[in-house]
């Protein structure tokens, strides 16, 4: 099989080229629409031929996504999208792969696969739509639902601790970790662009509103009037300022604290380093949350490591340069053979292959 990719069509693609003929079936007002629109808008800008793009999903509201993208796509089974992406990358490491998942699909039933696709650094862009609820099955609590959340399956409130997707991704050795919001389309497209540009596994948590079963879940941080004060927009190499530059993040001991810039100099403010080899700064940021801190948005971590499928294929190339392209006849003979000839009806020799 050839892994060469035909040259992209010379005509520039438009957003419309990425819209499939399928009717979009999310609930009116769902945050997924905004994400779909942003992704379709950013696609033509990536300069990647449409036929080299594959969207893979599992099960859940978010997982309908591939049907709406006019690219290659697989709507697979619950939680397993990362495993298909891994095999597809092995077959053809040059493709641009997206895994679209949710908090239930990616962190509950598919939690194991998510950990391992990140650890292996498969060249894939993982978009995790976090709405803190099971939508498709009509409103049960999810692994990111807050403790005490009352749902159909937790009428007295959940008694479970929730997962922090960014912390999980960092613990899984993810090389690219970011967070963005469905309704902030500008930010969303920038983050997706950065994720695609990153070679290796890119993990993007997208705060997504499920207006049917968990409306307003992110309002405290995404509400237009309060955004500036409650979000910390991360930029590599820049001091961590927010609230229009009026506030910043300073370290006290090992703990980040919010300071007013009236009480601090710019030198005291933490500078974001997304490329730091160790994930400890990124992890600290992942633990910051409202109301103690603003919620960090943007790229927490972005470091270069070899991607999985290329590393596997590199070993094939190395093995072929050392041993030559496999000789099937020699393989079948194995180390030791003997010959039975008709006239003797017996063994008359042996050889070492």
């Amino acid at each position: 099989m050839s892994t060469t990719i035909p040259a992209a069509s010379l005509q520039p693609l438009t957003r419309q080229d990425f819209v499939s003929d399928q009717m979009v079936r999310w609930c009116p007002g769902c945050g997924d629409f905004a994400i779909l629109a942003a992704v379709q808008r950013v696609m033509p800008e990536l300069g990647i031929a449409r036929e080299n793009i594959v969207f893979i999903s599992g099960i859940g509201c978010s997982s309908r996504f591939p049907y709406y993208m006019n690219t290659f796509g697989v709507h697979s089974i619950h939680g397993r999208a990362p495993t298909l992406a891994t095999g597809l990358a092995l077959a053809n490491p040059e493709l641009t792969l997206f895994v679209v998942t949710g908090d239930g699909d990616g962190l509950s039933i598919g939690g194991n696969h998510l950990l391992h696709i990140l650890r292996r650094n498969v060249n894939v862009n993982i978009l995790l739509f976090n709405n803190r609820i099971y939508g498709l099955t009509k409103g049960q609590y999810s692994p990111t639902s807050l403790p005490g959340h009352k749902t159909k399956s937790s009428p007295m409130g959940t008694v479970e601790q929730s997962l922090n997707p960014i912390s999980v991704a960092l613990a899984a050795e993810a090389t690219f970790v970011a967070r963005t919001v469905d309704v902030q389309s500008q930010h969303l497209t920038e983050v997706i662009r950065a994720a695609v540009a990153h070679r290796g596994a890119s993990f993007v948590e997208i705060y997504q509103n499920c207006n049917i079963f968990n409306d307003h879940a992110w309002e405290y941080v995404t509400e237009k009037d309060q955004r500036d004060d409650r979000q910390l927009l991360l930029e590599h190499g820049k001091p961590m300022l927010f609230s229009g530059g009026k506030k910043g993040i300073r370290l006290r001991g090992m703990t980040p604290e919010v300071v007013s810039m009236e009480d601090a100099t710019i030198d005291e403010i933490l500078v974001h380093d997304a490329h730091a080899p160790s994930p400890h700064l990124a992890f600290m940021l992942s633990r910051m949350n409202f109301p103690e801190h603003p919620v960090p948005m943007g790229v927490f971590r972005s470091v270069e490591k070899p991607d999985y499928a290329h590393a596997v294929v590199d070993q094939v190339v190395t093995a072929q340069s050392q041993k030559g392209k496999g000789d099937l006849a020699k393989l079948l003979r194995g180390a030791e053979t003997w010959t039975v000839t008709p006239h003797r009806g017996a063994a008359d020799g042996k050889g070492h292959g």
Binding site: S76, T83, L84, G326, L331, G334, E336, G345, A347
Partner: protein, 626 residues
């Protein structure tokens, strides 16, 4: 019962000719019995005997030394005749400790030889094996001919003065002493094993020296002791002419996967999760990267199945392998593969179940699981190799079927085939039929008004186009939801659902068009037809031939295809009054045959984690004819 330590004048041996011999090497897990058996087998094969082997080892990596649980055995049957099985019972038992004697004695013929390392028959070891009295002294070995050999002491004496060798390493090579002795008894050359040792321990000259000396010492001991009055010759078998090698089922499966990919000019992506006894396939393939084999050890069985689907979607030859509970874990994703309609091969090396069951023992009890163990209407082709060497052919065939019908195909191997070995005529790959794969090609951006690509449009065989990412103009989405025929668009329309179910069933059923017809071995009609499948081939074939030689009206059909069945199976069955189905499960093929063909069969189940003995089958045949 003589045993002598002092050197005696070399015997100008008297030789006796034997047709076949079965030797069982048995000892502690750490005694190197698998290696001893393998080396004996290799030499027998090179000499030209027909061979059949059966390793039998504990599931524990290091079971407590000296206990019954820790006994590791290797049975080799070598013959001047065409043989089918590793033998019902052993002629010779080489027991390296009391536990090995105790565990294996029941598999020894009444007049069989017992060669023991008497140094290991200490009070402590006897107790660990559960002996109250020393069986070497209390007469409990009855009619067996006993040879007591102070093997540890003799070996130590032979290995004194090798620089850099501690006493542990010295004792470790006592298996070579035992091997040397058996080589002497059966008049075999030492050269193949000497060469193997030299290759294996290239960097450790002291280990080479130790093993060489131990092997020679065992051989010369045979010569100098007066214990063995007679030596034996087993002449070469008159096997069909050709170039042979020895092969195990797992080796053959791995090579079959590589060969299939090569025949289609495809990379092989093998995704797997470690599990006994399938892991050796992963190990073999991981060493074959220069064949463009891309192996992936995934996080679990489910991921291995998912990765296989992804690789198939990408256009590679994709395969996975598993055993036991692994196939249960894979079933959800196998169903996705079935409805996506992508070609791939799933190797299931069956072992004893249910649940964790008997990890190192054989069984045929996953047949119903792979045929029916998924939600919904979920037809999947199933094939089963008959012998270790057949694992190669059936794996290549499985890929042919997968590509033709665009479907996953299950290969049901088993632990007996996987670890057992036989002589195998090395096939010439240049004479193997290529596997034709065609991917729809790009015609550039679709023209205005041109019909959309139809990913589920059926071809003549009922398959569908295998359009792969990277092909311009063929962008399409597939998924696990019910589909509209042709377009593959999501559809819950009742008639669409039913039509797609029927189309998938039809293309699998139509594989019968390319499956070779079943062959009745024996008369075309008569009293009894024995139907077997998978790894029981050898013992069933021999039992049927024995019955035929006794003038009984019995024939044998061995099935390599379980879904679909060969098209002529029903016609063959109709020629017989009774049908006997022996299998290593509770009667699963019997169940399927009765359901499919609506006629009763006599089920002969065996569920002990052990292969069928010829004698057991002979009894079933006798009873069925009574």
């Amino acid at each position: 019962m003589a045993e002598t330590l002092t050197a005696a004048p070399p015997q100008v041996g008297s030789f006796e000719d034997l047709e076949s011999v079965v030797i069982r090497f048995a000892g502690d897990s750490g005694d190197g019995m698998q290696l001893t058996g393998t080396q004996f087998t290799d030499t027998a094969a090179i000499i030209g005997n027909d061979i059949s082997t059966m390793p039998d080892f504990p599931a524990e990596i290091r079971a407590p030394a000296g206990t019954l649980a820790g006994v590791s055995g290797y049975q080799v049957h070598f013959s001047s005749q065409d043989i089918y099985t590793p033998g019902d019972a052993a002629d010779v038992l080489v027991a390296m400790n009391p536990a090995a004697l105790k565990a294996c004695l029941r598999d020894l013929k009444p007049d069989g030889f017992v060669i023991v390392n008497e140094d290991e028959f200490t009070a402590g070891n006897l107790k660990k094996a559960g002996y109250v009295d020393n069986p070497l002294d209390d007469g409990s070995l009855g009619s067996h001919k006993l040879f007591r050999i102070p093997l540890t002491k003799l070996n130590r004496a032979a290995l004194t003065g090798i620089e850099g060798l501690n006493s542990k390493a010295i004792d470790r090579s006592k298996n070579m002493f035992a091997l040397g002795l058996t080589f002497w008894i059966y008049d075999r050359p030492l050269s193949a094993t000497l060469d193997w040792v030299s290759r294996q321990f290239k960097a450790k000259p002291e280990v080479i020296e130790a093993n060489h000396r131990a092997l020679h010492a065992g051989y010369h001991f045979g010569e100098t002791t007066e214990a063995f009055q007679v030596r034996y010759h087993v002449a070469p078998a008159s096997l069909p002419s050709g170039t042979y090698r020895k092969i195990t089922g797992n080796e053959a499966t791995a090579m079959g996967l590589v060969a299939a990919a090569r025949l289609a000019d495809k990379p092989l992506v093998y995704s797997s999760y470690p599990i006994t006894p399938a892991s050796d396939i992963l190990h073999s393939l991981a060493a074959l990267k220069h064949f463009d084999v891309r192996t992936a050890q995934l996080e679990d069985e489910i991921a291995a199945m998912g990765s296989t689907i992804g690789a198939a979607f990408g256009g590679a030859f994709a395969a996975t392998g598993t055993s036991g509970p692994g196939i249960a874990l894979k079933s959800e994703a196998m169903n996705l593969a079935i409805v996506l309609e992508l070609p791939m091969v799933i190797v299931n090396v069956q072992r004893g179940g249910p649940s964790t069951g008997l990890p190192t023992k054989t069984e045929q009890s996953d047949l119903l699981q792979v045929l029916f163990g998924r939600n919904g209407e979920s037809p999947i082709p199933v094939v089963a190799p008959a012998t270790p060497g057949d694992c190669f052919d059936i794996t290549v065939e499985a890929f042919r079927m997968a590509v033709r019908a665009m479907t996953p195909v299950v290969v049901l191997s088993d632990g007996y085939l996987a670890n057992g070995s036989e002589p195998w005529i090395v096939p010439d790959p240049s004479k193997m039929e290529p596997i034709q794969v065609s991917h729809p090609v790009s015609f550039g951006p679709p023209a205005e008004g041109a019909p959309d690509f139809m990913p589920y449009q059926r071809d003549a065989a009922g398959g569908r186009p295998w359009a792969i990412p990277g092909t311009q103009g063929l962008e399409h989405r597939i998924g696990g939801l019910s589909k509209e025929p042709g377009t593959g668009n999501v559809s819950y329309a009742p008639e669409h659902h039913e039509q797609m179910v029927a189309e998938r069933a039809a293309k699998v059923a139509r594989l019968a068009e390319i499956i070779p017809p079943a062959e009745a071995h024996g008369p075309e009609s008569g009293e009894l037809l024995v139907i077997s499948w998978g790894g029981t081939y050898g013992s069933v074939r021999r039992a049927v031939e024995d019955a035929q030689a006794q003038g009984k009206s019995v024939a044998h059909v061995h099935l390599r295809h379980l879904n679909p069945f060969p098209a002529n199976l029903k016609a063959i069955m109709d020629g017989f009054q009774k049908i006997l189905v022996p299998e290593l499960n509770g009667g699963q093929l019997s169940f399927v045959l009765q359901g499919r063909f609506g006629r009763p069969v006599i089920s002969a189940p065996k569920v002990q984690g052990q292969p069928y003995k010829i004698s057991e089958l002979a009894e079933h045949i006798r009873a069925a004819l009574a």
